[in-house]
Amino acid sequence: MRKIQRLLALAGAAVIALSSSLLFAACADGEEKQVLRIYNWEDYICNEDDEEAGYVDLIAAFEEAYDCEVEYSTFGTNENMYNELKINEGSYDLVCPSDYMIMKMIREGMCEPFTEEFRTSSLYAQNVSPYIRGIFEENGWDKYAIGYMWGTMGFMYNPEAGDTIAEDVQSWRVLENEKYRKKSTLKDSVRDTYFYALACVYEEELAALAAEYEDGSLSETEYNAAITAVMNRTDEETVEKARVYLREVKKNIYGFEVDSGKNDMVTGKIDINFCWSGDAAYGIYEAGEEDGSTLAYSVPDYVSNIWFDGWVIPKGGNVDLAEKFLDFISSPDYAMMNMDYIGYTSVLAGEEIYENWVLDGYAAEESGEELQSLIDAGEIIEYDLSYFFDDDPDSGAYAFYAYASEKNGMLGAQYPDNSVVARCAVMQFFEEDANNRINMMWEDVKGAEIPIPAVILIAVILIAGGGVYLFTKYGNDWLRGKPKKGYEKVENKDK
């Protein structure tokens, strides 16, 4: 295996070396430009100049500002990215995996640490949200990874699909509900759907924990640690429970998807979509643009997932240039532009983002008496984002008035409120045998049974085909029937 990989890598390196030497020979600029090789998710950075919308091609802008060259390539799943890194070791300077993959890569020693200087004084260090910084430190990722985008998982739903849908989607188990038969989707991704299954099969246990947190017998930290432990169980019994549950739920849902779900919500094919908050923000926006209809997003009770995508520098990467790039895209202006372009929420906080993005976008316009009357009517609520923007999560310094509809709208999708993040667990990376167990569970869940009508159909076709064959072979006389007019049947004596 290793040998083949080395051969492939060698061949790849030869091709790259050849083409790059040709390239340099062609420009013959004299000085050799530095190259930054970035490997990112598809559609995950603003790389388009559009003056009208105020977009700047961040990659081109960086190339110009630092007189270097960026080789930008993209991947579709964490697993693909990981395989590519294994096969072509040392061919990327900066990659953007998700939480559990970051853990796996750190564990396997695949990452170059960031410099002390970057970790203390870069634009990223100055602007990153204290909440995100805390999570990275807690998990011990802060040396090797910095955040990029983050969010929750929940349900995007169509509020008009039923009178009680808003309450129904507060339970993860809504997908078993006959009312929404063939109207909901799950993710075609083993990690996310396994997480979903655990939220359902351990609903009672999680509800009990939530009650303990509610009455104060568990602190927020203890509560979060407890739900994180439940949601990352991988023992055989748990996996079996998940398998049984998912097979059952599969009968009631519309299907599995990874990227068609948000469009199916917008076009009304489905009413409930288990999704990432960024996709929900996209769907809510698109639906509004398309025909003015409203979609909503909510994070069900008791538990949810909080996820991150972050930048890591693979071993042998160009740390200096990578840090320059990360510093470059961490300015508040570019961060907001990026958020606007890709629809996900940046891990960066800071006054500028709070004022120009959160307040400008979501704060209620009313003031004085009018405001008070709307508050009394429940149409405007107080929305506290201090946990994200302030060092002290309970300071209340970043609370503002927002329209109540925004709680389950764009605002809720982009910045969940404090009560939501308290019940969010981080996905851990699974050991290999647990991973195999869960993969086999997934294969079983995804497998379909042969439908009985199809078997009957095949039997009929085979019998009919065989019948025709036998008739043509042995049933000549019967099939021929009477000869044509004016002909007479003659016995074939040769037979």
């Binding site: 290793r2 990981y82 519309y254 599995f256 079983d444 379909a448 049974e449 042969i450 043509t472």
Partner: protein, 273 residues
């Protein structure tokens, strides 16, 4: 002036290089991966475990069964739909039948993903989408592979000698008899090559089952993809590919695709398709 002389052997070199690089070496790698495992250090060792694993796993055998079922039904309906069309096109007296044929074929040259996406919307309007995953998948596959069935059938029917039909008629055979004893046997090469062309891809074309069956149906092609990308197990993925290869081989053997029959030269064009 320099004159170049190429022997036949030399003319084959470009193809031989292409074949070696992109067909033979990858095939050998697949074979290597299929019958090996990997220890903790990433070293390969010979093993049949993937093979036994495949045939002792219910979900894998079920997927094999589902793929065969879908492929069989798809092939059947393609044949039922394509035969009359090909017959009419080939036997009609018009001089410019190829124009008609093109009318059938050209729309199929539109981008495949685009057509399937459009079909998805159509099935949604009819009310099938989300409710009949298998039916939708078969509709999509038939829609997709119909030209592969029409063209060889058309070719073999068109090449059929008209005097044979006249002779059958002269000798007193009715239309049913003529069809069963003259037309059908003569179009057999076309049928066989059409069946092979449709049966094989419908076992693996998972874009259709994913898009129209909302990923509720897993067929072998999808399973291979999962093993390579999600499960990170190239060995099992390769083994499933080998199993598919064996199925293809068996189908070819059964349908006589390897037969080198001299008097079937008229069907050579058909076999090309």
């Amino acid at each position: 002036m320099v004159r170049f002389h190429f022997s036949r052997k030399q003319l084959c070199i470009p193809y031989a290089v292409f074949l070696t690089l992109f067909v033979i070496i990858p095939m050998l790698l697949i074979l290597l991966y299929a019958f090996t495992g990997e220890d903790a250090e990433g070293n390969l060792f010979f093993s049949f475990s993937n093979f036994f694993n495949f045939f002792s796993s219910t979900s894998k055998l079920q997927t094999l069964g589902v793929s065969l079922t879908i492929a069989f039904i798809t092939t059947f309906f393609s044949l039922i739909i394509a035969y009359p069309v090909a017959y009419i096109l080939a036997r009609s007296g018009w001089k410019r039948t190829y124009v008609l044929l093109m009318l059938f074929i050209v729309p199929m040259w539109l981008n495949f993903v685009l057509r399937i996406t459009a079909l998805r919307e159509l099935l949604n309007i009819i009310g099938f989408l989300g409710n009949y995953d298998y039916v939708n998948t078969v509709i999509g596959m038939v829609y997709d592979f119909l030209p592969f069935m029409i063209l060889p059938l058309y070719n073999s029917l068109q090449k059929m000698d008209n005097s044979l039909l006249e002779a059958a008629n002269d000798l007193g055979a009715g239309p049913v008899h003529t069809f069963l004893h003259v037309t059908l046997p003569l179009s057999m090469p076309g049928i066989l090559s059409g069946v092979t062309m449709v049966f094989m891809p419908s076992m693996t074309n998972y874009v259709v089952s994913e898009t129209l069956g909302n990923s509720n149906i897993t067929i072998l092609g999808k399973m291979i993809e999962e093993y390579f990308s999600t499960y990170d197990d190239m060995h099992m993925g390769s083994l499933i590919s080998i199993i598919l290869l064996v199925i293809i081989f068996i189908t070819m053997l059964v349908s006589g695709g390897f037969k080198q029959n001299a008097d079937e030269s008229s069907a050579r064009g058909a076999n090309l398709w």
